[in-house]
Each structure stands twice: as structure tokens, then as C-alpha cells.
Amino acid sequence: MATAVVTLSGGSVVSVRLASEKGVAAAPRAEEGAEPKDMGPNPISPELKELAWGFGSFLVFLVIMRLFLVPKVRKGMAERYDGIRADLEGADAAKADARAEVAKYEAALVEVRAEVAKRVDAARVTLDSERGEAIAAANRRIAAKKAEAEAAAVAERAAARDQISAAVTSVTATATSIAVGKQADNSVVTQAVAQAMQSTGAR
């Protein structure tokens, strides 16, 4: 039997050693002349029962794992991995489809924008021409109205002049007849008034 011998000095551990029965020569038992005990079988040598149980257990474990359990677990793993792979591929396909849709949408957007720009330009051109036409028509109407107004003004002026001329002629004839005591020649008075008004108007 091995014995650990701890040597103390002043309350602290100085050394610890393991000694076999033979090694503890100074121990009392050795002094008593006791024979070394049988250490038993070699501790390294395997025991048959342990060999049989250990190897048998391993073989059973191996057979069950090889034939049933590992293939089942592996199959489940493969199925799930296939599912994940299929999902990933589906996601990639959906992503590619979405990208194609986006590209298509953007192309359509460009087309629509070009069409809109074209239509806006055409509308602007139409609007400009229509506005020009409208302005020209309005100018024409204004010119016509102006001409009409000028003609009316000329007529009014002529009528006013005739009235003034008649009134001045009448007044002049009356004044002349009062001044000279006889009836003035109406045509001479009319001519004289016309000349006077013409020279006044010219001035």
C-alpha cells in the first residue's frame, strides 16, 4: 500500500512524498518485519469481461448507428438542406424576376416620360399657334372697331360742323341783315362761313 508522507517543520509543510510499503523502511510496520502485500494483478492488463462488454457495447452501438440512426438523421438533414437550397433558389429566382420587372417598369417609365415630353411639346406648339391666332384675331377686331369708331367720329365731326356752319350762317345772316338793313344773300353768307370755318379748322 502506498503512503504519502508529509514532513512538517515549524508548522509549515516541508515535503510530501509517496512511499510504497517497501519504501517506508523506517515505518513501524517495516520494523515489525511484515512481508510486502500482494499488489494484485497488473493494473494495465485488460480484463476479459471489460473487453467483452466494452467491445460488445461498441459493436451494438455501431450496428444500430450504421443501419438505423445515422441514415435517418442524415436523411432528415439532407431533406432540410434540400428544402433550404430550394427555398434559396426560389428566392434567387424571385429576386431575378423582381429585378426584370423593375427593369421593365423603368423602361416603360422612360417611354412614358418621352411620350409625355413629346405631347407637352406638341401641346405647347399648338397653344402657341392658337394664342398667335387669337391675338391676331383680337388685333383685327380691335382694328375694325377702331376704324368704325374713327369713321363714326369723322361723321359726327362733319355733322357737328354742318350744324355749326348752319347755325353760324343763320347767325351771320341775321347779324348782317341787322347791320346792313337788308336781307343778306344766303349763299354768299354760307360760302363765307364755310371759308372762315375752313381757315379756322386749318389753323
Binding site: M1, A2, L18, P41, R66, V73
Partner: protein
């Protein structure tokens, strides 16, 4: 001076039978199979179309770990057919390692030579068998014993080395690496647990506070053993994949 009784090595490694020829190592091995099968059975029953959760998540993560972290790194896509074998090997070793830090068990089944030895022997048969199947008996042993590119004069030296290395040493190194690492971890945990207990129960009261030091070491090593359990399972599995890959595709 305190003296703690360290139990004989067989007392911390050899377990009494709980039933005829059925001890703690056998319990752990059987439980590893039951737990592994249960997790994968639950995973197989879960709806595979939904996002994996719980057992399904654990199972799928372990499958992907073996496929991406072991097979693709060592054998390439052609090696994916070995997934069930390597996955079972990894899970079984890991589930046999982990009980080393689980209360009540506190013993990795791989800290006994039986399971690492049996698994290493099986791996030896598998990679040699795979090599013979793919290259034929002569072709396989020719590729192993007479590696291409070596000057013919050197075959006198290289061939015996390759024979010892590939045919004899590999299974031993596989088994001993796993066994020794798990045994060392187990002994370390036992040592620090015993030391903590002895110091906490020391008659000299001044020693009692020193019990904290091995206890912290025990906690640290327990955490470390979680990593070791995983790492040793991974190393055993990836070396198996390398050996199989080398036997099936010697040009790699």
C-alpha cells in the same frame, strides 16, 4: 507530520462486479451505447423539416463535426461513407471518458486497457481491411512497406521501419495514448481528492486551511478533464480517419 493512505492502484482501477462479470467499466460501456442510441433515436424521431433543437441539434452537430472536422480534413469527400463508423467511435470514446468526472461513476472506462485496446485492435483491422479491399493484398502491403519516391537502396532500412510503424506500433500508440491520458487524469483527481480530504481532516489544526489548495487544484483538474475527455476522443477518431484515408488513398 500527516500520513495519508493512498489506495493501491488496483483499488482505484479495478471494480468489483455488481453482477456476474459486470462491473463499473461494463456499466459505463453499456450506458455509453444506451445514451448514444437514445440521443440519436430522439433525433431521428424529431421533425427534420423544422430547425433542429435539443437532441436533434446535438446529433446533427456531432454528425457535422465528424464530417467537416474529421473526414473532410483527412479523407476528403470520398470518406463521407465512413461517417457512421467514425461518429460511433467518437461518441463511444467520449461517453466512456466523461464518467471520469461524473459523481458516482468517477471513473473513465477508457482508463482501463480493455476498451482502448479493443477499439485500437478493431481500427487496425478496419484500416488494413480497407486498404486491402481498395488496393488488393499485394498492392496495399507494397504501398505500406515500399513507399514510392524512396531510393531502392534505402528500402532495407525503410521497409522494416514502415512495417513496425504502420502494422505494429499504430494500434499500440492509439490504445496507449487514450488509456494513459485517461488513467493519468483519473490518478491526478484521486490524488488531489485524497490530499484535500487528509488536510481538511488533519489533527494539526494549522494544516486545515492548506486543504483549500489541493481542493482548488481538484476543481481545476475536473474542468480540465472535460477538455481531455473530448480531446482524446477527437484524437483517437481523427487518427483512425488518417489511417483509413492513408490505406484507401496511399497517394495522399
Amino acid at each position: 507530520m500527516i500520513a495519508l493512505e493512498f489506495p493501491p492502484i488496483n483499488a482505484i482501477l479495478r471494480w468489483q462486479d455488481v453482477a456476474p462479470s459486470f462491473n463499473k467499466i461494463a456499466i459505463i460501456a453499456v450506458l455509453a451505447t444506451i445514451i448514444g442510441c437514445t440521443i440519436f433515436a430522439m433525433a431521428a424521431r424529431a421533425d427534420a423539416r423544422k430547425a433542429p433543437r435539443g437532441a436533434r441539434n446535438l446529433a446533427e452537430t456531432s454528425v457535422e463535426f465528424i464530417e467537416n472536422g474529421v473526414i473532410m480534413q483527412t479523407m476528403g469527400r470520398d470518406g463521407l461513407g465512413w461517417t457512421p463508423f467514425l461518429l460511433t467511435l467518437f461518441l463511444f470514446i467520449y461517453l466512456c471518458n466523461v464518467p471520469g468526472i461524473i459523481p458516482f461513476f468517477q471513473m473513465p472506462a477508457t482508463a482501463r486497457m480493455a476498451i482502448p485496446g479493443a477499439l485500437a485492435l478493431m481500427v487496425w483491422v478496419v484500416y488494413n481491411g480497407a486498404g486491402i479491399k481498395h488496393q488488393g493484398f499485394g498492392g496495399y502491403f507494397k504501398s505500406v512497406l515500399f513507399p514510392p519516391g524512396v531510393p531502392k537502396a534505402l528500402y532495407v532500412l525503410v521497409t522494416p521501419i514502415e512495417f513496425i510503424s504502420a502494422i505494429i506500433v499504430r494500434p499500440f500508440s492509439l490504445a496507449v495514448r487514450l488509456f494513459a491520458n485517461m488513467l493519468a487524469g483519473h490518478i491526478l483527481l484521486v490524488t488531489f481528492a485524497l490530499l484535500s480530504e487528509s488536510l481538511f481532516q488533519a489533527k494539526d489544526k494549522i494544516l486545515i486551511p492548506f486543504g483549500v489548495l489541493p481542493m482548488f487544484m481538484l476543481i481545476f483538474l475536473t474542468g480540465f478533464e472535460v477538455l481531455v475527455a473530448f480531446l482524446q476522443a477527437y484524437i483517437f477518431t481523427i487518427l483512425t480517419a488518417v489511417y483509413i484515408g492513408g490505406a484507401v488513398h496511399p497517394e495522399h
